[in-house]
């Protein structure tokens, strides 16, 4: 697959269709695949990588490249879940669709290197998919691990393998996954008492070091200036005031992306403290689905999300008030 993608990228680059290619390259470690921008065939030949460690969502990099005051056409490789973010960014006028050539890449789920390491596999240098197993290449030789044991949590509960936007496809397009089970953990949290839930989140969020990785990676966090960085907002200093205010950073961020979050799960992937931040967003998504009917942000670029549109069937505020009392 990687070789097909490389070949196609070089073709499009050399025939002038695109001037830049957004994909992945190895980072500090060989399992640490990082989004990258390529401008020459040589760079692609030597550095472009696509394997089961390429979980990073590159859609936001399209926005970043387009901000650089150039109309140069960009080639981007998008996995199914990345296409949802891409659509949402297009809907919010963050991406000029005409200036992007999208190659949809079929995906069967990405590996979570932390899980592989936890299984005692060390010296990882590469990965290959083999049916219901991953073959992990290490400096000590090949190791195998069951797919189910190494799959990233967000991929195990994948919401959709469907490519919602593309100019061409490499690999196979999939379907929206019914009953993905991605709300199971949220339901568990909902079943807790308010005090238990409060303790759960206080505990999880107490590990936050405010590195802002979740915010910076999030494709829904696209403000010119974040309210937490804006001295005029009057709340920029709040998060530093005490640990409770600090916890509010994540709650407020979840509110700000509510209705726009596509559930790509990048926030939890990049969190160095392993805080399950995506659960906050999933709670919002679950509530939206229950109160306003099923809605998937980034399904298309046209529909308005339920929190910024009004229909006669919308839940009455009293319903929400009552749910708050549960």
């Amino acid at each position: 697959m990687q070789e097909v993608m490389k070949k196609r990228a070089i073709e499009l680059l050399s025939d002038g269709t695109v001037a830049k290619v957004i994909g992945w390259m190895p980072g500090e470690f060989s399992y640490d695949m990082t989004p990258a921008v390529f401008t020459t065939a040589e760079e692609i030949e030597s550095n472009f990588v696509y394997n089961d460690f390429c979980g990073a969502n590159v859609s936001k990099y399209v926005m970043r490249e387009q901000k650089k005051a150039s109309d140069a056409k960009i080639l981007v490789f998008l996995k199914p879940c990345d296409t949802y973010s891409f659509n949402q960014l297009t809907a919010e006028h963050k991406i000029v669709r005409e200036n992007v050539y999208v190659i949809g890449v079929g995906c069967d789920g990405m590996a979570d290197v932390e899980k592989i390491k936890a299984a005692g596999i060390e010296g990882i240098t590469g990965i290959e998919s083999d049916g219901d197993k991953f073959i992990v290449k290490t400096v000590y030789g090949d190791e195998t691990i069951a797919r189910a044991d190494a799959l990233a949590e967000r991929c195990a509960a994948c919401k959709s393998k469907k490519l919602t936007v593309y100019d061409e496809i490499i690999g196979e397009d999939g379907e929206v996954v019914e009953n993905s089970g991605r709300f199971d953990l949220v339901a568990k949290l909902e079943a807790m008492s308010a005090d238990e839930r409060f303790e759960f989140w206080r505990n999880e969020l107490s590990r936050c070091i405010r590195c802002n990785a979740c915010r910076n990676v999030c494709p829904a966090c696209t403000c010119e200036q974040c309210v937490f960085d804006n001295p005029k907002s009057g709340i920029d200093q709040k998060a530093a005031a005490d640990s409770f205010e600090e916890n509010m950073f994540h709650i407020i961020r979840a509110f700000h992306v509510a209705g726009r979050c596509t559930d790509c799960g990048e926030c939890s992937r990049v969190c160095p403290q392993h805080i399950p931040l995506h659960l906050l967003n999933r709670k919002f998504i679950k509530d939206i689905n229950e109160l306003y009917g099923d809605y998937q942000a980034g399904d298309d670029t046209e529909s308005k999300h339920p929190l910024t549109s009004f229909t006669y069937d919308d839940a009455e505020p009293s319903v929400i008030h009552e749910r708050g009392n549960e």
């Binding site: 005051a69 696209t222 010119e224 200036q225 309210v227 005029k232």
Partner: protein, 663 residues
């Protein structure tokens, strides 16, 4: 640094009875930037206002906090007082320590503490207030009346009489409304058509009145003085400009089995029809649900017989967009459906009818040409039972909790007219209470009982059972005699409760006008502003605001017209300066604010910016039209960047208030 004056009002004992006002003034006097803090009997009085004016001058105040009643009451009073003393009126903040404090608390210590907190929040807000200047917007000198019943007609006539243009939008093919279906009107017993049709004709003839019949309001945008309304002229498949109203098509149409809604389905009409002889406009309408031509493409009789060539099967709905300075809602009422009252056997017997059906049975233009005949066998009824309060003053699960107000009087009318025309008919009226508070109303009711011998029985009917011989056994209790009654009646008439027309709810949403739980429009103030909606520029006429009889409807219609005339007579309106604005440097162009704006006040523009590295970049940013913005604040809470903010209610001010309360 602000110099703030705090003024705590006693409001007689309204506030001082529950709140220790002296303690409040003293505590707030210690707040930062407060240079004077006093209490007074009535701040809204002349001397109270002078107290504020003098303090502004003496202490060189830059901000004023009045702890008093709701800002809806006296905010304007205090703003004007401040302006008179040379302070920008928007530097005045009200802390509502009456409605939100003294009136709802009993414990003095608690209420006092809360009053101090509310005052502290207002002080925190005023610290961040900035002087604002109100702009002006023009007034479009045309009014829209939604609903062409007697309420809408009267309002339109009165507005036109003052020289302003009026459009009436009526969803039926003709104006006239419910009153066209009535026979006689209480308490004078003049014929409804005789007094209504001249007004309908007047509407048609008045050059300033434009009637959109068979039309509905599709969308409303804009604001007081400057509404833009999309009117859907539903396809009636007849060219209004060509149709002469000769009625030939309505006679020749072969589709004869269409229930005639004008006679409440008690007889049939054709698929092409004119509701009644005096319809305005007198134009035929084709009922697409029944027309064979429209359904199957085979027929075309009406088109063949029409000498004017007015039939047009290809007509489609047409959208007309018109601008208005004011909108009057006159959507009226409907009797409730009585099918669910099984005990009254409405669904089981044709001889159990509603009062409106009774009205049609006694009307010369009705299905029986005015002869009172039983619907089942066409025989003359000799014993009639009227049941009052069917669904009125009821439990909310079953009916309406309110009194429908008109039923006592029209039932007395029905009873009296029956006895007058058919003295051999016995008439019983079952009631909970007889309510006749109106000019000449009680006299009217007494005539029914004393002169016409109508049997009024206090008590409710428990059950109506159709019997094999065609009569209806009415089981009831007489609460005064304390006995159970069984009456074999020939006809039972139900005084069904009335409810707002179903079109009112979606219309209220379009107009952003508020409604009560029964879907009646709410007035800006129940006593002092009864014909205005709380939404500026929206006025209320007739039963859409609450149950009303004709005299009351006509008075309210006139009052609404007077308010509209008062508005249209102005050339310019002062705008609310508390509107949203976007910080373009922060705006990320996501469009969420434009999505939530109910007034369409936000557009996006491409604008060139100089970036920090001195390069130029075109960015997409939000732009607010201050004349259209109503300051609701929906955009400010939606904007994730905090780029949208509201003058007078900025995010920082609200945060400061919250902080002051939580301190």
């Amino acid at each position: 640094m602000q110099r703030i004056g705090v003024f705590v009002c006693h409001c007689g004992t309204n506030i001082a009875g529950t709140v220790d006002v002296k303690a409040v003034a003293e505590a707030l006097g210690r707040e930062p930037s407060v240079v004077t803090s006093v209490d007074y009997q009535y701040m809204c009085s002349e001397s109270g206002q002078n107290l504020i004016k003098d303090a502004i001058r003496d202490y060189k105040l830059t901000g004023v906090v009045v702890c008093s009643c709701s800002p809806r009451m006296h905010e304007n009073t205090f703003r004007k007082a401040a302006a008179a003393a040379g302070l920008n009126p928007y530097m005045v903040e009200i802390a509502n320590i009456r409605e939100q404090c003294s009136w709802i608390h009993k414990d003095v210590a608690e209420a006092t503490e809360k009053a101090i907190i509310l005052g502290r929040a207002a002080i925190a807000k005023v610290q961040l207030n900035a002087p604002l200047v109100a702009g002006e917007s023009p007034v479009i000198k045309r009014a829209l009346v939604i609903g062409g019943g007697i309420a809408g007609i009267q309002t339109a006539l009165d507005i036109a009489d003052a020289g302003f243009e009026v459009d009436i939008v009526e969803k039926q093919p003709t104006i006239g409304g419910k009153m066209t279906q009535l026979d006689k009107t209480f308490p004078t017993l003049d014929c409804a058509a005789c007094i209504l049709t001249p007004k309908m004709v007047e509407c048609a003839q008045n050059e300033l009145i434009n009637i959109y019949s068979y039309s509905e309001v599709d969308a409303v945008s804009g604001f007081v003085g400057n509404f833009s309304v999309k009117i859907r002229k539903k396809a009636r498949y007849v060219d209004e400009t060509k149709c002469t109203g000769c009625g030939l098509c309505t006679e020749k149409c072969p589709q004869k089995k269409v229930p005639n809604e004008f006679n409440l389905g008690m007889d049939n009409r054709r698929a092409v029809y004119i509701p009644f002889a005096q319809a305005v406009p007198k134009v035929a309408t084709i009922d697409a649900d029944y027309c064979t031509m429209l359904k199957t493409g085979k027929c075309g009789v009406c088109s063949k017989v029409c000498t004017a060539g007015a039939i047009n099967y290809k007509q489609t709905d047409e959208i007309v967009e018109r601008q208005y300075g004011a909108i009057v809602v006159a959507t009226g009422f409907n009797p409730i459906k009585v099918d669910k009252y099984d005990e009254y056997a409405y669904g089981q017997s044709k001889d159990v009818i509603t009062s409106l059906e009774f009205e049609r049975l006694t009307n010369a233009a009705g299905p029986t040409s005015g002869k009172l005949l039983r619907p089942s066998d066409g025989k003359h009824p000799h014993k009639i039972v009227f049941i009052q309060c069917v669904g009125s003053r009821c439990t909310p699960e079953k009916g309406k909790s309110y009194c429908s107000k008109i039923c006592c009087m029209y039932t007395a009318k029905h009873a009296m007219l029956t006895r007058e025309k058919y003295p051999d008919t016995e008439v019983y009226v079952f009631y909970i209470d007889v309510r006749t508070p109106g000019k000449n109303f009680d006299e009217f009711y007494r005539r029914a009982t004393e002169e016409y011998g109508v049997h009024y029985i206090k008590g409710m009917v428990g059950k109506v059972s159709p019997k094999a011989d065609g009569t209806l056994e009415v089981q009831a209790s007489d609460l005064i005699m304390n006995e159970q009654l069984r009456i074999d009646a020939d006809l039972v008439v139900l005084a069904a409760a009335i409810e707002p027309d179903k079109s009112a709810r979606p219309l209220a949403t379009m107009l952003t006008a508020s409604m009560d739980t029964n879907d009646f429009f709410t007035e800006a103030h129940p006593k002092l502003r009864p014909v205005e909606s709380p939404t500026a520029g929206i006025f209320l006429s007739g039963a859409c605001q609450g149950p009303k009889d004709i005299p009351e409807t006509v008075s309210q219609a006139g009052a609404a017209a007077a308010k509209v005339i008062g508005l249209l007579a102005k050339n310019k309106l002062t705008c609310n300066p508390c509107v949203a604005h976007s910080d373009e440097l922060l705006c990320n162009g996501c469009s969420q604010c434009a999505n939530v704006c109910p007034y369409g006040a936000i557009t996006y523009i491409e604008k060139e910016f100089v970036m920090p590295d001195r390069s130029k970049k075109i960015r997409r940013v939000a732009s607010v039209n201050p004349a259209v913005c109503q300051g609701c604040g929906a955009c400010t809470v939606t904007c994730p960047s905090g780029a949208m903010d509201l003058h007078g209610f900025s995010n920082r001010q609200i945060m400061a208030e919250v902080d002051a309360i939580c301190k």
